[in-house]
């Protein structure tokens, strides 16, 4: 037996949730599907491949004050930002849910990033299994299935005009609308099949190709914009600086990317990673070598956003297979 909810009831449930807490869900905006705060269930998009930007923005916002400096009568007090409101994050894909789990590894490692931790703790993730795969998708190569229920609190899988509902965690169970859920005999459809990239052994190959001229050649066409990092569900690099507005001082954290020109430039101008090739290489080493060294998993979930949005088609799948070839060459 499985539990199901009809499309209509799903929308009424979401409408109910919108009345109770913040609901972030996919919606159409300027020709894109983006996760946005929903004010009406009818704006929520249920059928989409994946959103243009990853869900990380809800947990690690583009910009967020870590604290505000309160200056009264010459006294200074630091007021930390806190996350108080409960949020339901609806429509996260299995790849992106893994992305959040990957960002957890560095950010929740002791001492935990308090603000990020609050964002995560205050949010319930409702996952949506993929019924079809985009041409850029390769989650299976990263050990994720298109209907993988790990890393979410509730998983929904579309069957005809209904959704199979699985409560994965206690937090998810608590959120389920028992009145809208029915028992059923339906079976989940088979997950779509995807193109595969050979990732086996890549972590071991990486250290040996660091000096390969490959990187500077690849960087020839790289524009060194931040698109790949900003659309990526696992990139978490950030910058911290102060922001003054009308006399109020905030210490702000914002996204930053290892591709941006000033990323490693020290005060005084010295930049140990000044060449384009070195910067691009850092991106792939972080994902395919350093991150797995530290946390045991490749820092990529195969969502394919960087493949789709890179203006010059630097395709991580191709890079992985090129590295495999380079590694094989250097062995013989």
């Amino acid at each position: 037996m499985t539990q199901i909810i009809s499309r209509k009831d799903l929308l009424s449930w979401l409408e109910r949730l919108i009345g109770e807490r913040i609901v972030i869900a996919p919606a159409r905006s300027n020709g894109m599907v983006l996760f946005q705060r929903a004010s009406r269930a009818e704006d929520i998009v249920l059928d989409f491949d994946n959103t243009a930007l990853s869900p990380k923005e809800s947990f690690l916002p583009l910009s967020e004050a870590l604290f505000t400096v309160d200056k009264e009568n010459g006294n200074i007090k630091l007021m930390p930002t806190t996350v108080d409101e409960e949020t339901v994050f609806f429509g996260i894909r299995p790849c992106d849910a893994r992305g959040m789990a990957l960002i957890d590894a560095p950010l929740l490692a002791a001492p935990a990033d308090a603000l990020y931790q609050q964002h995560r703790a205050r949010t319930t993730l409702i996952g949506l299994a993929c019924s079809q795969a985009g041409p850029e998708c390769f989650c299976t190569s990263m050990g994720i299935a298109p209907d993988d229920p790990s890393n979410v609190d509730i998983m929904l899988t579309k069957v005809d005009d209904s959704y199979i509902v699985q409560a994965i965690t206690e937090k998810g169970k608590a959120l389920l609308p028992s009145d809208l859920i029915a028992e059923s005999e339906v079976m989940p459809p088979p997950a779509p099949s995807l193109q595969a990239v050979l990732t086996e052994g890549i972590v071991e190959v990486m250290p040996g190709v660091f000096e390969a001229p490959y990187w500077s050649r690849l960087a020839d066409r790289c524009l060194h914009c931040n698109i790949c990092a900003y659309v990526c569900p696992t990139c978490y690099c950030f910058d911290i600086r102060d922001y003054i507005d009308e006399g109020s001082i905030e210490r702000v954290r914002s996204w930053e990317s290892c591709q941006s020109p000033g990323f490693t430039r020290l005060a005084g101008g010295y930049d140990p990673r000044s060449t384009k090739g070195a910067r691009l290489r850092q991106r792939f080493y972080h994902k395919l070598s350093y991150f797995p060294e530290h946390f045991g998993l490749i820092g990529c979930v195969g969502c394919g956003r960087c493949v789709r949005y890179c203006p010059v088609n630097i395709d991580i799948r191709e890079v992985i297979s090129d590295i495999q070839k380079l590694g094989a060459q250097s062995e013989c």
Partner: protein, 290 residues
């Protein structure tokens, strides 16, 4: 896409000749992207790489953007007419040396709307407004120059925007800029944005604060556009690469229109032309009182 467009053999032959003779270190052209449909930049260093070169209506990138990176070597570049205007701009601004760039000019039928994995059948908006289908600077020309038919109303969308009330304009742009994630792809794709230190990265004075937020984004977009006033060559790469669909051409083309009206100038038409904000005429009034 247009059928029978086969400029590839000529481009490849020329590229092979240049690389084999050692006349250039590298040929910057296009190759097929990983979707098997669209194009991406190719840097061919060996005669063998030449067979990867393609040219068709998916070759959107303005390759002139890469010339400043290759200042220290001699390169050949496959250039569409808009790219050729960028080459002229870079020459006029003394960023590259003419003798170090071999231009393989390509007569351009217009580039189609495409994203990775998907090709449309419509020409890009900028191509519908194109006035030059033949490159303005080249050492070797591929294709037959067609007769030029200037577009009837190149600035109708700009005029529509101008006609709106101040409040409408303000809220339109506020909404557009609010969406920006400051990936700076618009800058990085632009052949005219070659400053070693962009104003957006200066810390003292600090023009653009760390917050990725509407007010900071507004400074970025307005000043980015204005720094290209009289310099933008309308390749529209900035808009094409924008991951959040900000209509940057609507900014760029307002300035293009006003530059044309005020100074009678279009950028990149020659390698000698001085950008209009870098010069003046004593006798002009430009609508200002004495």
């Amino acid at each position: 896409m247009q059928e029978g467009l086969d400029l590839m053999p000529q481009i490849r032959d020329k590229a092979r000749e240049l690389l084999t003779s050692g006349a250039v270190d590298c040929v910057i052209g296009y190759e097929r992207a990983s979707d098997g449909l669209t194009a991406r930049p190719l840097f061919a260093y060996e005669p063998n790489d030449v067979d990867k070169l393609i040219f068709d209506q998916t070759c959107a990138h303005n390759l002139a953007r890469f010339l400043v990176n290759k200042r220290d070597s001699t390169v050949a570049i496959v250039a569409k007419p808009c790219d050729s205007r960028a080459i002229n701009l870079l020459l006029a601004e003394k960023q590259i040396q003419r003798e170090r760039v071999y231009v393989i000019g390509v007569v351009c039928p217009g580039i189609v709307e495409a994203t990775w994995g998907q090709i449309g059948d419509k020409l890009q908006a900028r191509c519908q407004l194109c006035r030059e289908h033949t490159p303005l600077v080249y050492d070797f020309l591929v294709g037959e120059p067609p007769a030029e038919e200037p577009p009837a109303e190149p600035y109708h969308d700009v005029a529509e925007m101008e006609a709106k009330s101040a409040a409408e304009k303000h809220s339109f742009w506020a909404e557009q800029f609010a969406r920006c994630i400051r990936c700076y792809a618009c800058r990085q794709a632009c052949p005219g944005c070659y400053c070693t230190e962009c104003f957006a990265e200066q810390l003292d004075p600090l023009w653009v604060g760390i917050r990725i937020a509407p007010m900071e984004n507004e400074v970025w977009h307005i000043i980015r556009a204005f720094h290209l006033a009289g310099r933008c060559i309308a390749c529209n790469e900035c808009e094409r690469v924008c991951p959040v669909n900000i209509p940057l051409s609507l900014l760029n083309r307002k300035l293009e229109k006003d530059v044309l009206e005020l100074f009678g100038f279009r950028s990149g038409l020659s390698a000698e032309a001085v950008p209009p904000l870098a010069t003046f005429k004593k006798e002009e009034r430009l609508g200002m009182s004495e």
